[in-house]
Symmetry: C2
Subunit: 128 residues, 2 copies
Amino acid sequence: MKETVKTFKALSDETRLRILHLLIEAGEICVCDMETVLGCPQAKVSRHLTILKNAGLVDDRREGLWVLYSLVKPADSTHAAVLKMLRETGGGELFSLDKKKLLQAIQQGRCKTFGVIKPEKIPQSMAR
Amino acid sequence: MKETVKTFKALSDETRLRILHLLIEAGEICVCDMETVLGCPQAKVSRHLTILKNAGLVDDRREGLWVLYSLVKPADSTHAAVLKMLRETGGGELFSLDKKKLLQAIQQGRCKTFGVIKPEKIPQSMAR
DNA sequence: ATCTGATATCTGTATATCCGTATATATGGA
DNA sequence: TCCATATATACGGATATACAGATATCAGAT
């Protein structure tokens, strides 16, 4: 049950929920794109990503200069249920704005992930 | 998304998770039975119940001297998903002990809810 | 080796949360 | 009305968390 508490604590912050919903939408993106979309300073984004990683909710991998984050493949049933719940509930209005901002960043060439890092992996919902 | 954060914060505490699992198991019980089962002081239980109530996760109703708490009928999809998740994940070892303690309290006549308040409503899993 | 861009960590401060203890409120009975 | 039981709330201290700003690390290019 201790682990479950850790999971819920990780989910108890608006910025972290926005990040998770962004990852649901985009699949895998770099930290600087999160800064762009969320409008948060770099240190803040990085700190929250560390928390999500320690809670076992996201994975990271380095790709050149960048670090790309994505949702984990859920290991236990709690995580699976949590991620399913997040997908189902959608995130509300604030996240709709984030999604719009990501789309704009892509269209205006300000998105690194789908601009220069891996343009071929752009998700359906974001492709023009 | 603000509401979602509130929900997760309410879930980010071991005592509160134990209470929720207890309510899943017992259906509706009074505060003093929770004290007995959880082994927590009255004020602590009451405080956590207030937090769960403010988060919209539990309902309460007065029955004479006692106040009986139960899980809400979920209003929105986030709550429904959360409660479903709690039911599915089961709560782990610590809660198994709580369940045992509830059973013992019933058998030894120390449980108010199913001893004097509403003995006819004792759940299947607890009946001898 | 040095420079630059991207990301992570440290530090101090403000705020939030949790807990134990004490006190208040509510209900029913003598 | 007074008492006993059940529950809720207020207060103060300890710990945890979030943030901004500064600094450190890391990878690649020159």
